[in-house]
């Protein structure tokens, strides 16, 4: 069948303003949207730019807006949009467009790094592994599904709002949660120093968009809520 695409185009080297371009592609219902984009590039228009790497939802390269919702192009199939007359493809919001569907991810990774995304320990490591029970591991298990695709941060109304765009965003908070709730971590004080601020966990206004779009089904909003709860609890009790 023929699928109609309407794709956001912008090349800062030559375009004064972004515009939309229409394409038609032969596709089958089980084709990935990424397959269609590759077909457009191979058969119609080699100037179209988008990122891709693994092609099956593990690397996080091909986050984009499909009919208005952030998603991975390799995880959405043509049949998911059967009812739509055409597919509208746009770059992720929040980030600067560098060309077509390629956005500037540097600010995303900078904010990610600001939450100290590594295990902080004070007691010396044992000869073998640090012990952790299955239950303790479960505490943060959903968070390790995160592939840093940025769909959540790009969909967050707080990040989209110019007045509050300095919020570090849900993706950075998921990574913060992953270490904050890891029983091996002894850096709670350092973590709270970063998270307990208006642009940290308190920036979240519980709009649930992050949870809605997460391609890995991470309960993002709930995890941010847990971070807030733990910050409040920490003012009462001892922390590692």
């Amino acid at each position: 069948m023929i699928i109609k695409f309407r794709i956001f185009r912008y090349n800062p080297d030559k375009d004064v303003e972004p515009y939309y371009q229409n394409y038609e592609v032969e596709a089958s219902p089980k084709d990935r949207i990424l397959d269609c984009l590759n077909r457009i590039r191979a058969e119609n228009d080699p100037t179209l730019s988008f990122r891709m790497s693994c092609g099956h939802g593990v690397c996080g390269s091909d986050g984009m807006r499909i009919n208005g919702t952030s998603a991975l192009a390799c995880q959405k199939l043509v049949k998911d949009f059967e009812k739509n007359e055409e597919l509208l493809i746009e770059p992720l919001q929040v980030f600067r467009v560098r060309k077509d569907l390629v956005v500037d991810m540097d600010p995303f990774f900078e904010r990610y790094y600001s939450v100290k995304p590594y295990l902080i320990t004070k007691t010396p490591a044992p000869d073998k592994e640090r012990l952790q029970s299955i239950e303790e591991h479960r505490e943060f298990e959903y968070a390790i599904r995160c592939i840093l695709c940025a769909c959540c941060t790009a969909s967050c109304p707080v990040n989209q709002n110019k007045a509050t765009e300095t919020y570090i965003g849900p993706a950075a908070l998921v990574r913060a949660f992953r270490y904050f709730f890891d029983s091996r971590d002894e850096g709670s004080k350092e973590r709270i120093a970063v998270l307990d601020s208006k642009d940290g966990a308190w920036g979240c206004q519980t709009k649930w968009m992050c949870t809605k779009v997460c391609p890995k089904e991470i309960p993002v909003t709930k995890q941010i809520f847990e971070i807030k709860k733990r910050i409040l609890e920490s003012s009462k009790g001892d922390l590692k």
Partner: protein, 569 residues
């Protein structure tokens, strides 16, 4: 632009990152990658990392070594295998201390599970040796090592595509990289250059490999006069998701999944009576295709992977990612229905020959190519020989990535940098200009598609002389067509068409090397199965292939503890 570092690493997968972490405190280290950080293909590794830490049952490095050697069909260099398996427990504890979120057992220790070819007591029964984090092991290790690199201020040249290696006075002194975001060329000088660029699965139509696995580093080395070793040994993973080729981890069988043919038979009982579905990958891939050829497969050429008896809880806890792939792409729920699978091109056992410290060897007598190092899938130490065992690849990247880092750290104080002239940058500019402005009638996509289908037809799981000769003829005509490719996109920023043209040039060269290596190995060993020579021939072929630009030569395999014997699972 021109930049200088002590060490430049090409590739930001596990081998590259691990090497960087090792030497960043003593040297100025930069990583060049054609993708953004954390997008490298190491992240797609699912099942685990092997180490004989014995958290679930008795295990020893000698057993791990035997399995690896037997898995390699006795072609692996046993001195290198011994280094790797002895170092494995240290690797696991080190990763755990860095924060890798390994899954746990009831005692709170790192959990371990079964994987193909890994046994106790030298082949008696399967052993739980693979340490894992659900079925996203590669990704969490990649993230952890990336974070360590950030913490130690490793410089990243992201979305930079390496066009050439620079040699001055016979020593590798840097590289020329094309900045995908701007179209600028950069000369990056260094005392040591590490190639950690991964595999080349994208030469084949059906593959588990990401789009970036085009073998660039392999061919950059080959163009610089380095031989490529054992390139005929291409692993087809038995369980690619039909019809996409996406990996369905061996962990599915490690956790108890069973392969069944169209009659519902557990056919692996016939091919590997002792370990059944947990035989080495080459054995299982041939078994699947034999079932299909003999009419016991499903229409289209696949078999079933049955997980339905494992129960929802176990499936979702240990195999969440693959369950998600199957649900999304096929609309099938593995909890209730069998998963259609067929062999998919997965891993290159061969590669750039190195010593056990990652130093590149430029001939069969072991002469070191100064300034050049290789680690990970693009390197061939050789620890995998003719067939790699599951979960030994992550181990390889981490053991030899680290050793490479140590070697570079040790070597660089003795290296006097030679001033690099403008010539390489000029040549790079000419190369880009000639690609962009030549006129022609061919498109990349057509040639690449033909190559991928041809390689499946003549050089995948089953091979013979007639097919391989046809393949060589075909690749030569594809190369002629490639010289007539026209690039439509003349843009400077994010011009992926231009990058793919350079990639395709590498892929065509490598396809020819693979076909030639396969043609001249007139025996069957591990992943290389010749229907016209179905037996292993230790008398004539217990040796490594080396393809030089001027022809093929061989060097003997190193045998220490385990003498070659019949390989039965």
């Amino acid at each position: 632009m021109s930049f200088k570092h002590d060490i430049v690493i090409v590739g930001s997968g596990l081998a590259g990152l691990r090497a960087a972490v090792e030497c960043v405190e003593e040297a100025h280290v930069a990583i060049v990658s054609k993708v953004l950080p954390t997008r490298s293909h190491s992240g797609a590794a699912q099942g685990g990392i092997t180490a004989s830490i014995g958290n679930e049952e008795e295990d020893h490095w000698e057993w791990h070594m035997f399995d690896t050697v037997k898995g390699s069909d006795y072609l692996a260099d046993q001195d290198a295998v011994e280094i790797m398996v002895k170092d494995a427990p240290r690797v696991i504890y080190e990763l755990e201390h860095m924060g890798v979120p390994f899954s746990r057992n009831a005692e709170g220790k790192i959990a371990q599970r079964n994987f193909g070819g890994h046994t106790s007591e030298y082949g008696k029964k399967p052993v739980k040796r693979a340490c894992y984090a659900s079925d996203r092991t590669g990704r969490v290790v990649l993230d952890t090592l990336y974070d360590q690199c950030l913490r130690h201020n490793v410089k990243f040249y992201q979305e930079h595509y390496v066009l050439s290696l620079v040699f001055e006075k016979g020593k590798c002194s840097g590289l020329v990289a094309y900045d995908l975001s701007s179209g600028e060329l950069n000369l990056i000088e260094a005392k040591a250059v590490l190639l950690a660029t991964g595999g080349c699965g994208r030469i084949f139509k059906t593959t588990s490999n990401g789009f970036a696995s085009t073998g660039d580093g392999l061919n950059l080395a080959h163009k610089a006069g380095i031989p490529l070793m054992d390139m005929e040994f291409i692993q087809f993973h038995p369980t690619g998701l039909y019809p996409l080729g996406i990996l369905v981890s061996e962990a599915a069988r490690g956790e108890g999944g069973i392969l069944r043919n169209s009659l519902g038979e557990r056919f692996m009982e016939r091919y590997a009576p002792t370990v059944k579905d947990l035989a080495a990958r080459d054995v299982v891939s041939r078994a699947i295709l034999t079932e299909v050829r003999e009419g016991r497969g499903f229409e289209g050429g696949y078999v079933h992977l049955d997980l339905t008896h494992l129960g929802e809880e176990k499936i979702l806890e240990r195999l969440w990612e693959i369950t998600s792939f199957v649900r999304i792409y096929l609309g099938i729920d593995p909890v209730h229905e069998p998963v259609p699978v067929y062999p998919t091109c997965h891993y290159l056992m061969g590669g750039i020959p190195t010593d056990s410290d990652g130093r590149v060897l430029q001939d069969e007598s072991g002469t070191i190519a100064k300034g050049l190092y290789a680690a990970g899938e693009c390197a061939c130490v050789s620890v995998h020989g003719a067939n790699r065992l599951g979960c030994n690849s992550l181990l390889d990247t981490l053991v030899f990535g680290r050793r490479c880092g140590l070697a570079m750290k040790k070597d660089i104080p003795e290296i006097e940098p030679d001033p690099v002239l403008d010539e390489p940058l000029k040549k790079g500019k000419e190369m880009i200009a000639s690609l962009l402005y030549r006129k022609g009638s061919e498109k990349i996509d057509g040639i690449r598609g033909n190559m991928q289908v041809m390689m499946m037809d003549y050089c995948s799981v089953f091979r013979d002389e007639k097919g391989l000769n046809k393949g060589i003829e075909s690749i030569r005509s594809l190369k002629t067509r490639f010289s007539d490719v026209e690039i439509v996109n003349k843009g400077r920023n994010f011009n992926y068409e231009l990058m793919e043209a350079v990639e395709l040039g590498h892929q065509l060269d490598l396809a020819e090397v693979i076909l030639l290596s396969a043609l001249y190995r007139k025996e069957s060993r591990g992943a290389h199965f010749r229907e016209d020579f179905p037996a292993r021939d230790d008398k004539n072929f217990l040796k490594h292939t080396l393809v030089f630009r001027e022809g093929l030569r061989y060097k003997p395999a190193t045998i220490t503890r385990f003498k070659p014997e019949a390989r039965v699972y």
